[in-house]
Amino acid sequence: MPQNARPLSPHLQVYRWPLSMALSILHRATGIALAIGLLLVVWLLLSLASGPESYAVARAFCASWLGLALLFAWSWALFFHLCNGVRHLFWDVGAGFAKAQAQRSAFVVVAASLLLTALVWICVIAQGGVA
């Protein structure tokens, strides 16, 4: 701590969490998670290029409980980052900045990401699962 007790500017923990703040943090967190997920995509492609044995290992991992949990989390992260990314693009052209609009688009982003995740996994289950 500094010697003189000068007032510090308040940091994150003193604020009530508005929805847009939670979404902003989630956008960054899902971005980091997706960067790691990309390495798995490369591993899958590499296994497919290497031969049937390595592809079987990669598929077995994807069908394991850990693999499924990761894939499920990544699929939601992908759709959330995608939807919220589009929200950011609207902001970049100057649209939707009003408080009420930003609040509404936050709800739309959360709902759309959950809906798309559910849709994809319904498709997967309808096709008979990952393995």
Binding site: R28, L89, V120
Partner: protein
């Protein structure tokens, strides 16, 4: 009639020349590339999700390889890999800039992220090409 300093191809207006070039002179470039790769990824992701569902449905190894032998599939996958790792590097760069305050550690992690992203992207591209040409 073109405005001096207007660079439409790179989406730059002559504003920086009016305001005396700015500090690092490259911040807006980063911002723009992050958005443009983001737009590309938004479009590519729609296709990728469909493709992954087809792969899951295909199941076995031979069928999966067959799907990737189509030129269209290979091109879109390579585009996705390149755009995704580029976008990821730009995003992780900002995260490191925000949270890593030890100078040498920041420089090291920035270089490491660039190496991992470039290396993984190249690996993915070579894997797709190998499958596409049946090697």
């Amino acid at each position: 009639m073109s405005t001096p300093g207007m660079d439409r191809a790179n989406l730059r207006t002559p504003l920086k020349e009016v305001r005396g070039l700015g500090s690092a002179k490259s911040g807006t470039r980063h911002f723009i590339v992050q958005r443009v790769t983001g737009i590309a990824l938004a479009l590519l992701t729609i296709w990728i999700v469909g493709f992954v569902l087809t792969l899951v449905h295909a199941g076995d190894y031979l069928h999966a390889r067959e799907l990737l032998r189509h030129t269209f599939a290979a091109v879109w996958l390579i585009a996705f890999i390149v755009m995704a790792f580029w976008h990821a590097q730009l995003g992780l760069q900002v995260v490191i800039e925000d949270y890593v305050h030890t100078s040498w550690l920041e420089m090291l992690s920035q270089i490491a992220v660039k190496f991992v992203c470039a290396g993984a992207a190249l690996t993915g591209v070579v894997a797709v090409i190998r499958i596409a040409i049946g090697a």
